[in-house]
Homo-oligomer: 207 residues x 2
DNA sequence: AATTTTGTTTACTGTATGGTAGATTTTTTA
DNA sequence: TAAAAAATCTACCATACAGTAAACAAAATT
């Protein structure tokens, strides 16, 4: 075994631990949110002591930032794997479904929806912002294509459509339906997609 | 001036101070959310010292609960003043517009959307829960009437429609549009109403 | 095996904050 | 105006938590 492969093995172990920490942080974040998540929680969940976390992430903000970045990477990856020949609304719909599934599976919601502090924190994270802008750029193109194809409302500005779309990924309605209705994951996803594109008004939705 | 009217005057002053505290708490809550709001913040904003707050509210949770209850009272009041002859969607639309306007005016969002801790806290507040159930009952009737009249999608269960409707009152899209678009309050409200009832899909909305 | 290096942990610091006791001021009453 | 009552504030406590220093253990290197 060469020195190189040994190093690489060590690095792999390091990376594995890092992923485990991010997994734990993600679970706890999804469960109680940023403010109630303590670094001791994360350490306990992942089976390390707190100072070890700080070998990987220089602060709580950094840790959460990385967790959000990993989520964005997942979204960008999903987009990249999509067939670009699919219809714009089909692509948006697919990504939204993916995001809902991640969330209902114990993952994070996409947007730091409510808390201004979390939003500000992420805004200060350059790598996060860069990825958000990249994702936003790609989605904006899809939205424009969708408008041209008559699949999306052309009376709404792009940013209204985009922000409303993003908001659906962290829609509290999902959480309330999960808690207080008897629907299963699939029914919730189907309904939320319907509400996103067709709203709650009128009969006979398009999809 | 009789003893009674003096007492009543003192009570009025007390009530005024209480309202001032609730106003301050509401502003701060809207600005930084529950976790970052400290009792010292509130005391400073309202011009009292912290212990004086505790003459009115027995805890931070209690204070925030009362602020939310005041908001619910406003909504119930708005509903009560509506013309019951109006169309169901007209009534829902009017209330949503009211809620958006409250929020954009520095008020609170309706639902404790994101934070599970805040949701749990309010769930333990009996007076709050009672009012939520009352409001929910009234809105459910309107939703059912709307479905019957063909103004609301009858393929969606009542609770999907209701939770999606509530979610619009605290939709983060509003915040993002306010921050990152050049729309004014009226344009934001108009678009958000459109998105709520018609979604973002297809052309030519109904309203 | 001795030495260095790396990683981990225990035990701690500093700060923020919800809440309170008791002194102090203001207002009311007589 | 003096005594009593009410309201308010200063100064504090206890707790929780992000982050760290230094002791300790494990592994790698010689």
């Amino acid at each position: 075994m060469s020195i190189l492969s040994k190093l690489s093995f060590k690095d792999q172990a390091f990376k594995l631990r890092e992923d485990a920490i991010l997994d734990a942080a993600t679970r706890i974040l999804a469960g109680k949110g940023f403010d109630l998540m303590t670094m001791d929680d994360v350490a306990l969940e992942v089976g390390l002591s707190k100072p070890s976390l700080y070998k990987h992430f220089k602060s709580k903000e950094d840790l959460v930032g990385e967790a959000m970045i990993r989520l964005l990477d997942g979204a960008l990856d999903f987009l990249a794997r999509q067939n670009t020949a699919d219809s714009p609304v089909g692509r948006l719909s697919g990504l939204l479904e993916w995001a809902m599934r991640v969330r209902l599976d114990g993952g994070l919601p996409f947007l730091p929806s409510a808390s201004p502090q979390v939003r500000d924190m992420l805004t200060r994270n350059l790598r996060y912002v860069t990825k958000v802008l990249k994702l936003n750029g790609q989605l904006e193109k899809i939205v424009q294509a969708g408008k041209k194809a008559g699949e999306l409302r052309s009376d709404l500005p792009d940013d209204v459509i985009l922000f409303s779309y993003y908001a659906r990924t962290c829609d509290p309605a999902v959480e309330y339906l999960r808690l207080y209705s008897k629907m299963d994951t699939e029914a919730i996803i189907a309904h939320m997609l319907g509400v996103c594109f067709d709203g709650i008004g009128r009969n006979s939705p398009s999809r």
